[in-house]
């Protein structure tokens, strides 16, 4: 059996006095597509933000490719990870944000090129070709010299995906990437994610409110409720056949 690429081991997270995550255990396997659903405030986003090193867990371990993300061995003792340690592991992980977070002072091509060049030290020429290919793949080949401010929300989000993909991560995280979009722009973004999910072999974790999409794309669905994984299984098990009343109540709000 293949080894998981990410393991959460009894991970807790508190903000002040509020415990948002109350013990998360989760394995993510290579190439696995996981959708995380659940009511807002249930801690969905926090799960992936801890993996992206944007939040530090209060307790527990996150293991990435056999290495402890937030702790490191120093003179035989496990201590809090420093930036160097985080940077070594973080290179395998990419993230797309709800609010795109494109760099407004760069063209969309520069947005894609900057990290392979400056972080990985790759050759400019090669990165440029790869970035153009990626922007064409997300349907923005004709906009490479535009600035983010000249794009629609859906286009911005597609650039953000190209930017993350150019780094060739092993794990891609999607944080409610369609929530900030006008309804008519959601489809084009989901289409790109569907394409990535079908054709790329990286692991993907999608925090989403798009149930039909989760059903279509995800191998596994997690239902998060009140800081714990209340239900998990195949997409159809959780979304279509769950007997958990909390899941049914949550889903009924989407079915209307």
């Amino acid at each position: 059996m293949t080894k998981p690429i990410v393991e959460y081991k009894d991970v807790h997270k508190s903000f002040g006095d509020v415990e948002v995550l109350k013990g998360i255990d989760l394995d993510i396997f290579p190439a696995e597509k996981i959708a995380v659903i659940g009511p807002s405030g249930s801690g969905k986003t926090t799960i992936i933000r801890m993996l992206m090193t944007l939040e530090e867990p209060t307790d527990g371990d996150i293991i990435v490719d056999g290495k402890n993300l937030w702790k490191m061995n120093k003179n035989g003792k496990m201590v809090e990870a420093d930036e160097k340690h985080l940077r070594e592991i973080r290179g395998d992980i990419g993230m797309v944000f709800q609010h795109f977070n494109l760099f407004p002072h760069m063209t969309i091509l520069e947005n894609c090129m900057t990290s392979p060049i400056h972080v990985k030290g790759e050759k400019k020429k090669e990165v440029k070709q790869r970035s153009i290919d990626m922007l064409e793949r997300v349907g923005l080949g004709d906009k490479i010299n535009n600035y983010p401010s000249q794009l629609s929300g859906g286009q911005k989000q597609r650039v953000a995906m190209a930017r993350a993909l150019v780094m060739r991560p092993k794990i891609m995280l999607f944080d409610e990437v369609t929530s900030a979009l006008d309804p008519e722009l959601v489809g084009e973004v989901l289409e790109v994610i569907r394409d990535i999910a079908k054709n790329d072999d990286m692991a993907m974790v999608l925090v989403t409110h798009e149930m039909d999409f989760a059903l279509d794309v995800a191998d596994k669905v997690l239902f998060l409720d009140d800081g714990v994984i209340a239900e998990q299984g195949s997409a159809s098990d959780v979304i279509e056949h769950s007997e958990n009343p909390r899941v049914q109540e949550f889903l009924s709000r989407f079915r209307g």
Partner: protein, 232 residues
């Protein structure tokens, strides 16, 4: 009585203009000093340690709440009397250090507001793309933090320019000093001080316009490659 003489007015010009390079020189040097020293304040303010932060905040507050004139007097007259660290500075150097330090506290705050104007999502995106701390600042944060500070920095440049004549009190031979000495030789200050006023107007006003232009230019910079096919 002869209150105004055009003869004296024209005679005074070359005399007073001899002080111009000093006034402008102090302004530019002190501003550069403040631009650099401002970074120090901004850096110190960002140290996440409560006590250091408290001390830095109060030192800045002290410097800002004390009149620049008092600070000039202190640096020029009092500092040399302090054992060990005391140094005697020329009027020019005293003015550069005095105005430089005074205005650096304001400029440090401007930098801070510029940095804080950059959305936190930019930091997060830079982290997600695994940039080093140095590259985050260099490539992502500062290029966005800088443009909005330009008009404020420009305003302080002009404000500082107008404060520089204070340094005539410690013997800086700028235009005010020259005007004064011309006036006392001729027992009439009207023409000489009028000239000083004209010089300040002639230099300040175009500078203000220039800053305005620069501001507009920087704000439109992100759109420099015209829109090929704007928002669908």
């Amino acid at each position: 009585m002869n209150y105004w003489s055009f003869e004296r007015f024209f005679e005074a010009w070359p005399y007073i203009l001899k002080g111009l390079h000093i006034t402008v020189g102090v302004t530019i040097s002190a501003f550069l000093f403040a631009l650099i020293f401002g970074f120090v304040w901004t850096f110190l303010r960002r140290i996440p340690e409560r006590h250091i932060n408290w001390v830095v905040t109060w030192v800045m507050e002290f410097i800002r709440s004390t009149p620049p004139l008092v600070q000039l007097f202190f640096i020029y007259y009092a500092w040399p009397e302090i054992p060990v660290v005391g140094v005697t500075l020329s009027p020019f150097a005293s003015a550069v250090v005095g105005f430089g330090i005074h205005f650096s506290t304001y400029i440090g705050e401007i930098y801070r507001s510029g940095i804080e104007s950059v959305d936190n999502g930019q930091w997060e995106a830079a982290t997600a793309l695994n940039f080093s701390l140095l590259d985050k600042w260099r490539l992502i944060i500062l290029p966005q933090a800088f443009p909005p500070t330009v008009p404020m920095l420009g305003n302080y440049f002009i404000i500082m320019f107008k404060e520089v004549p204070l340094a005539s009190t410690i013997g800086l031979t700028g235009i005010l000093h020259m005007a004064n000495s011309f006036g006392s030789e001729h027992f009439n200050l009207i023409e000489a001080l009028t000239i000083v006023g004209i010089i300040f107007l002639v230099l300040s006003y175009p500078s203000a316009r220039l800053i305005k232009k620069l501001e507009v230019k920087l704000n439109t910079r992100f759109d420099k490659n015209q829109v090929i096919d704007p928002v669908e």
